[in-house]
Amino acid sequence: MKTVRQRISLFVCAIVLFCLAFMPINSAVSVYAAPITGGEITVFSWEDYIDEGDDEAEDEELRTSILDIFEEETGIHVNYYTFATNEEMYNEIKRDPDACDLVCPSEYMIMKMKSEGLIKPYDIPENWEEYGSPYIKENIFGELGMTEDDKTYAVGYMWGTMGYLYNADKFSAEDLNHWSAIWNSEFRGKTTIKDSIRDTYIMAIAVVYEEELLEQRDKFLNEEITEQEYHDILFEIFNRADDATIEKVEEKLLALRPNLYGFEVDSGKSDILTGKIDVNFAWSGDAVYSMDEGDEAGVNLAYVVPEEGSNVWFDGWVMPKNANEELARQFIDFLCRPKIAIRNMEYIGYVSAVAGDEILDWIIDTYELLDEEGYLELSEGEKEDYFETDISYFFGEDAGTILLYTDTVGRQYSTQYPDYGVIQRCAIMDNFDDDTLVLINAMWNRIKLITLSDAAIILISVAIGVLILSGIAYKFKDKLFCKKIKK
């Protein structure tokens, strides 16, 4: 019999141990769930997607985190949490709609959240109104219906294109100006594609409908169709997801598989520097990163957006339904300041959706580009090496002319700010509906994994079954066969 005292002490002991076991978790939870009161907002974004201060910077200002500068200025504290995939973020918001005030997903996820009513429109921040690039605001947001009257569902943060990053010492842009190039055996074992169906799907679509895309492009160049018509056609083709298309995409990707070095989302950036691969299907921001690293390591890399056209994507700030709109908008407004945008661009390596003269000057400065005045000072011979590049789509009509040195085509600058000719053949990719997503995902499984033939499946199943049965028989051999002897 246990005494009462014993029971009490046992009980206390159990409670203490129980509390001890949960203490660290408990405190972590309480930090995460800090109530949003007064001057505090919770921001949910990608890892390394904001300049949190460079400890080694010489300039004092560059050493302080952008979040701290914001807090000092406005008194609003920012709780910054990160996610690794759009889907992870979506699950989190779905689970707890109050979890945060500001999120930075990609365009298709913004569309999905918008259609499900998870996010709300808010008043357009002043700096976005003033400095936001007309290309993002009018063309892309217009197409996706992001803005309603004077409210917007999103404000652009970073944007870019997709294309081939290649080793320019071994190949030229001509070798890779069709998406189908990496299906050739000369690239065998020397290319990587994205381990992400959405991105890889775009590339496969461009190969499946290569003829159609090129035909439309020629029509556009011969002025048989208008720019708008061409764009609408591109948008339609890049967003095709009917059964026949998915089947063709699967065929193409299965044929590509033996030609690949691997699937990646991150390692391609460095594999191309070490020479493991020669071509990488890359996001423009990663391409710039690799080029910068390559310049230091003595590897000459370049980026090309193939002729058929490509995908243009952006990440933008959206507010979940229950966000603190007032404070969150102040933060977005702050991020849209050209000066802050430049800091983030320098830190992240992607291209800000914010334009404006200050940013234009910074680009001209950084890449030592020529404007019109500089061009006029050149001698006739030197002038031949330069040509005009049109970026007024991004910086507005009065951006002036920028002249580009022939040798720098496909390098950092033209990767970050493609010529308008490239942008014309880029389309955004909309969100797939859930049923299509199931089909596409099953297709992706078949590409990533090995599917055995029916005969092999049956044969192996039978073999395993026999193995298990013989195991059971062996285990019970005494009971099965030796009953008589035992008696």
């Binding site: 005494t3 005292r5 014993q6 009490i8 002490s9 046992l10 002991c13 159990a14 141990l17 129980f18 076991a21 995939t85 759009n86 889907e87 992870e88 979506y90 699950n91 074992g189 381990d195 992400s196 169906i197 959405r198 598989r257 033996p258 030609n259 690949l260 070095y261 691997g262 699937f263 493991k276 997503l437 596409i440 995902n441 099953a442 992706w444 499984n445 078949r446 990533k448 994994l449 090995i450 599917t451 055995l452 029916d454 092999a456 499946i457 192996i460 199943s461 395993i464 298990i468 195991g471 059971i472 062996y474 285990k475």
Partner: protein, 282 residues
């Protein structure tokens, strides 16, 4: 007898005074078991038998077994597990045998050579191995996958084998030799049967984790290599590659995997730990 009883009574009395019996020490572990083993297991079972909106269903299992790609992956995983276990055994047995015969001080050094790499995280080891393979010129793919898995799980086979072999009564082998058994005969009728517990516990240490060890196959498979079932589960839960997570589907695969593991354990008598060889594994 009376004395013993008296001592025991005294002990019991002192124990009672502190209100603390030896069993109380099990409470932390019991709590841990309850919340981090039993409860999650029940959750897995719950999700496996419910649909996304929480109603009872067998559809998850039907979906899994109707999908040829997923079933293929499961079967391939089982074959790979058998293959890797066999390879590990073939490599590890002679090593453990030689180590057990060595002088203890020398054996210790070699044993450390096996154990120290295990102090490094296996993801890092896999990445280093990948670089090494590319240096030698072995392309990524199925073959590299097998090398990676064997490399990673070899120590788990060597250690139980070694600890069984070293505990073995040498006089039995000597007696057999004295009675005229040749070296081969001694090995097949004395050493091998006596080391079976080590073989089985080593095989379990390799066979079961390989099923879910998708980090290794991710590293080594390149574009054409196989993946193990663990990959499917991680896809379902993390919602990788642009799709949303499917917790119910993931739980289903996890449950199938659990059943396979329990079956293997049960058939090999893995639940009984008579020889204590398992306890010596790191």
């Amino acid at each position: 007898m009376k004395d013993v009883n008296a001592v025991e009574k005294k002990n019991a009395a002192s124990r009672r005074r502190f209100g603390f019996s030896r069993q109380s020490l099990c409470i932390p572990y019991g709590v841990f078991l309850l919340f981090f083993v039993l409860f999650p297991l029940l959750l897995v079972a719950y999700y496996a038998f419910t649909s996304a909106d929480g109603t009872f269903t067998f559809a998850n299992f039907a979906d899994f077994f109707a999908d040829k790609t997923k079933v293929s992956t499961l079967l391939i995983s089982i074959i790979v597990c058998i293959l890797v276990t066999a390879l590990c055994l073939v490599i590890a047995y002679p090593v453990a045998y030689i180590l057990a015969k060595m002088k203890k001080s020398v054996a210790f050094i070699f044993l450390m050579l096996f154990i120290t790499p295990m102090w490094i995280n296996f993801v890092l080891r896999a990445m280093a191995m990948k670089e090494l393979l590319s240096l030698i010129g072995i392309p990524l793919g199925n073959f590299a996958n097998i090398i990676g898995l064997v490399y990673d799980f070899l120590p788990f086979m060597v250690l139980p084998l070694y600890s069984t072999l070293i505990k073995m009564d040498k006089s039995l082998a000597e007696a057999a030799a004295d009675l005229g058994a040749g070296k081969v005969k001694v090995f097949t009728s004395i050493t091998l049967p006596l080391s079976m517990p080590g073989v089985i516990s080593g095989a379990m240490m390799v066979f079961l984790p390989v099923m879910s060890c998708y980090v290794i196959t991710d590293t080594f498979s390149g574009a054409t290599g196989f993946s193990v079932v663990g990959k499917l589960i991680s896809w379902c839960f993390l919602g990788e590659n642009g799709t949303l997570s499917n917790i119910n589907g993931g739980a289903t695969i996890a449950l199938v995997l659990l059943v396979i593991m329990f079956l293997t354990m049960w058939l090999t008598g893995g639940f009984k730990d008579e020889d204590g060889a398992r306890g010596t594994n790191l």
